[in-house]
């Protein structure tokens, strides 16, 4: 008999239909994965089970939990179920805990509420469950406040709250999406153990097919509020009978085709690159500078590939013994704790047209390093050179030539555009760096060209960012980055906020531009599949230092350092997960 049994569930919020005829069942002790891209209705299904929907929501169909009709249950009945028989873990650990209450209070609260236990008894039980989720009393006393814990630790507290009373069903809604891969693996292990120990049913909601495959016995795939396919995990994913399942799986395992960059292949119009040639190019070599300044050889960067091999000439970027210190926390009015080394004595170099991944866990200093390479932040020690020219501690005027040749793509496709400017203005922003300001007509043409390059049309010129989807915005972001024909693009987690199918398209675009324009990439990511997909070389960063470097395939297959091994082991991999499942489930 099922613990949770959802049949023909339909849901509408106001007049907007959210779910349509959803069927889903979870048996005691069973892990069911619920997969879908954003907007597929997977979270709303969970909220319906919890009855924590907005007031205007109307549900029809049947949701039964342990024999109770949830849709007909009163609020009092639901209160008795929530936190006692059904626990829930949420996506965002940073905001899921009340900042003004201690973790002890927050864990004990549910225990006291449901069991009518006294304060001391509830605290004792809270202590036990916190210890069980990996927060032992000695290091994490009950009197800690949420802000004193890291994201992963906070998620453990949320899990402790949800599991404190050994619920029959645990619902985990994207419990690891906000965490890096190593933390993700730890939290998933914890969930798996808890399910096992207590014979809980687990409904695991995720957009990540690999995560769900690794964890679940059965899997349900949703799209646009409807169930596409459901069944045993191994069989569903090995046969991939449903086209959408196949599509999701393919996107998850997607590796973009990369063509080696070849000089005279491009489709660049000479006009678009006029005025882009910079002192840096001229300095490279006499012949190159002469050629690049003539109209017949449109794109100077193209000479990168016919230049001698690496090592015999100036690298595009060289970082020499760079450190970045942040002042320590104020401990008293006069004192501060020791300064934090966000980046600690790091050296690296990137050759023209090379694609390099900088991989590490969150907080390892990789974004700080990227900002210094972009000259948006200055190192405390060491030197950063771009084409041999030092770029740290320079004023904007001095940086102009370097800035023309390096651009940036950010993670968040929503936050990286000023909502009040049109696409034309936004994409044209780096043109500010040109010595000769383009006329409005030239500007428009250059933007149209860049949009064309990333697969958007001239019709998009006058739109505003909110009119685009996440994937399209990331394309805009890339268009903005390539408009000055830079030699280097720094991309900070450029696909981690995107759904898998969109992610695959954007990775393709990156690979294509690398081949076509000969632009070098520095990809900052905690996701090894991204690194594997589009980079030649990987740098592994851990606690401010680079602990390993080498060819991408080499490092991902045979990691040497502990940090790299942890990252590789923790990275969810759909191939591996399916193989393992097939073994388990036969």
């Amino acid at each position: 008999m099922s613990l949770l049994d959802i049949q023909n569930l339909s849901l509408a919020i106001g007049n907007r239909p959210i779910l349509k005829d959803v069927d889903l069942a979870v048996a005691p002790g069973e892990v069911v994965g619920l997969v879908g891209e954003s907007g597929s209705g997977k979270s709303m299904t969970a909220m319906t089970v919890m009855q924590l929907l907005p007031f205007t929501a109307k549900a029809a169909g049947s949701v039964r939990f342990d024999g109770i009709d949830i849709l007909a249950a009163t609020e009092d009945q639901m209160c008795a179920l929530r936190g006692d028989d059904i626990g829930m873990v949420f996506q965002e650990p940073m905001t899921a805990l009340n900042p003004v209450k201690t973790i002890g209070e927050q864990v004990a609260e549910g225990i006291r509420w449901h069991t009518k236990a006294g304060r001391a008894e509830a605290e004792e039980r809270a202590r036990k469950i916190l210890d069980r989720v990996g927060l032992p009393e000695a290091k994490f006393p009950l009197t800690r406040y949420p802000h004193e814990l890291s994201g992963g630790q906070r998620q453990r507290v949320v899990i402790a709250i949800a599991c404190a009373l050994k619920p029959k069903l645990l619902i985990a809604d994207e419990p690891t999406t906000a965490l890096d891969v190593v933390l993700q693996a730890q939290i998933l292990d914890l969930l798996r153990d808890l399910v096992h120990e207590n014979k809980m049913g687990l409904l695991l909601i995720s957009h990540d097919l690999a995560v769900v495959t690794e964890m679940s016995d059965r899997i349900t795939i949703m799209r646009h509020g409807e169930v596409m396919e459901a069944g045993e995990t191994a069989r569903t994913l090995s046969s991939q009978t449903h086209p959408y399942t196949r599509q999701l799986a393919l996107a998850s395992m997607h590796v973009p085709k990369r063509r080696p960059f070849f000089p005279l292949e491009g489709e660049m119009s000479p006009k678009a690159t006029e005025g882009v040639a910079s002192e840096g190019n001229v300095a490279r070599s006499d012949i190159v500078s002469k050629m690049s300044s003539t109209a017949e050889t449109p794109f100077p960067g193209r000479f990168a590939a016919i230049s001698p091999p690496r090592g015999e000439r100036t690298p595009l970027v060289s970082v020499e013994n760079v450190s970045r210190l942040y002042p320590g926390r104020r401990t008293s009015f006069f004192g501060r704790s020791a300064p934090v080394h966000a980046v600690d004595d790091v050296s690296l170099s990137i050759a023209p047209a090379q694609s390099v991944a900088l991989v590490g866990r969150s907080g390892c200093g990789k974004s700080t390093l990227a900002r210094m390479i972009l000259a948006l932040d200055n190192p405390s020690a060491g030197a950063i050179r771009f084409r041999g020219e030092p770029i740290s501690h320079r004023n904007e005027a001095e940086l102009k030539p370097a800035r023309r040749d390096m651009q940036v793509v950010f993670q968040d496709p929503y936050g990286s555009f000023d909502p009040r400017q049109s696409v034309e203005k936004l994409v044209a922003e780096p043109l500010h760096l040109l010595e000769k300001k383009p006329t409005p007509a030239e500007r428009r043409e250059m933007v149209a060209h860049a949009l064309n390059e990333v697969g958007l049309g001239p019709a998009d010129l006058d739109k505003y960012p909110h009119e685009f989807s996440g994937g399209q915005r990331q394309r805009l972001s890339i268009a903005r980055a390539i408009i000055t024909r830079p030699k280097l693009i720094v991309a900070d987690e450029p696909v981690s906020a995107l759904d898998v199918s969109i992610r695959a398209q954007i990775l393709d675009l990156f690979a294509d531009l690398n081949g076509r324009l000969g632009v070098a990439y520095l990809f900052i990511t905690h996701d090894l599949t991204v690194a594997r997909a589009i980079t030649d070389e990987v740098l592994v960063m851990h606690e401010g230092r680079i602990v390993e470097r080498g060819a991408t395939k080499e490092i991902l297959d045979r990691p040497q350092s502990e940090a790299a091994q942890a990252l590789v082991a923790a990275a969810p991999d759909l191939h591996r997960a399916i193989a393992r499942k097939i073994q388990e489930q036969g």
């Binding site: 009340n98 709250i161 008293s332």
Partner: protein, 315 residues
């Protein structure tokens, strides 16, 4: 914890010092010679000069500033030109009216506003919310002195329940004195309560949409329990900010309301002093009020630290 509090104390102190410099500077650039003002128009130049030396008016600027501040710290505010008594005596007498008035008004407005705001937030969009927010919208727009006039017309002129103004003094008995303060306090409190109720409601609504409220509800606690145990304390942070700001407005309001009700408080004192150009009194009272505002804001800062552990840092 101490780092935060020490910083707030240092800031309050610095603000107080800056304020004293401003007030002192105003005293300096004022037209008119205090010595001549004191002696009247018939005094000779020598007489004036003699008094100036006596009063220390011929000392260097910095010396005079430190002298003035030093005396302020010792609660020696100087002598009033017109009353010919130490200013501190005048102030002491008047504070006995102004301070109770401000405190009653503050208590009244808080006691009305916070329950109304909470109730409205918990019943957002429903009848009670709509009515109380409509009334508060009007309350925000009413000038307190006009509201005072209407109260006088209704309760003193028409119903004759309370006196229309004046103050019998605390010696006349607590009840008599309080009776004279009721209308002024209500006139001060209600417009402030309207603002506070709106802020409370807004803060509460914002907090109720936070993720941790959902976590608390997922624990199985009923909505009302979540409201009291989780939302209230977080919502108090913006409410406290406004309470601190409101105290400054209340003080200013007291000055005006005392004039409406002919109450012998600091407000009356300051206006009489202005008309009589008794500047030492004006300066002293302004300095006193400014110090009070700074002190109240310091108390607000301290209560933030009580509520929000993030400000306390690692203990």
């Amino acid at each position: 914890m101490t780092a935060y509090l020490l910083k707030r104390v240092a800031i309050a102190f610095a603000t107080l010092v800056l304020a004293s410099i401003v007030v002192f500077a105003v005293l300096e650039i004022l037209p008119g010679d205090p010595a001549r003002l004191m002696l009247g128009m018939n005094a000779t130049a020598e007489q004036v000069e003699q008094v100036r030396t006596q009063m220390g008016l011929n000392d260097p600027l910095l010396l005079r500033y430190f002298h003035w501040v030093g005396n302020l710290v010792l609660l020696d505010f100087g002598r009033s030109y017109t009353y010919s008594v130490p200013v501190i005596d005048l102030v002491r007498e008047r504070v006995a009216v102004s301070l109770p008035l401000a405190l009653i008004a503050l208590a009244l407005s808080t006691l009305i506003a916070i329950p109304v705001g909470l109730h409205a937030a918990s019943r957002q969009g429903r009848f009670g919310d709509t009515v109380s927010m409509g009334v508060s919208q009007i309350g925000v727009a009413i000038p307190n002195f006009w509201f005072a006039l209407l109260l006088i017309y209704l309760f003193a002129v028409w119903l004759k329940w309370v006196p229309a103004g004046g103050f019998p003094g605390w010696s006349a008995g607590i009840w008599q004195a309080l009776k004279a303060l009721i209308l002024p306090a209500v006139a001060l409190a209600l417009p402030q309560a309207a603002i506070l109720a709106r802020v409370t409601r807004q803060a509460m609504i914002e907090v109720l949409s936070e993720d941790y409220i959902r976590t608390a509800r997922a624990k199985g606690m009923p909505y009302r329990a979540v409201l009291w145990r989780h939302a209230l304390r977080n919502a108090m942070i913006p409410v406290l900010t406004i309470l601190g700001l409101q105290f400054a407005f209340l003080l200013a309001g007291t000055i005006i309301i005392e004039n409406v009700f002919y109450l012998p408080g600091l407000g009356r004192l300051i206006f009489q002093a202005i008309t009589q150009r008794d500047l030492i009194v004006v300066e002293s009272v302004v300095m006193l009020l400014v110090a009070t505002v700074i002190l109240v804001n310091l108390v607000v800062d301290f209560s933030y630290a009580m509520i929000d552990p993030r400000l306390r840092g690692r203990s």
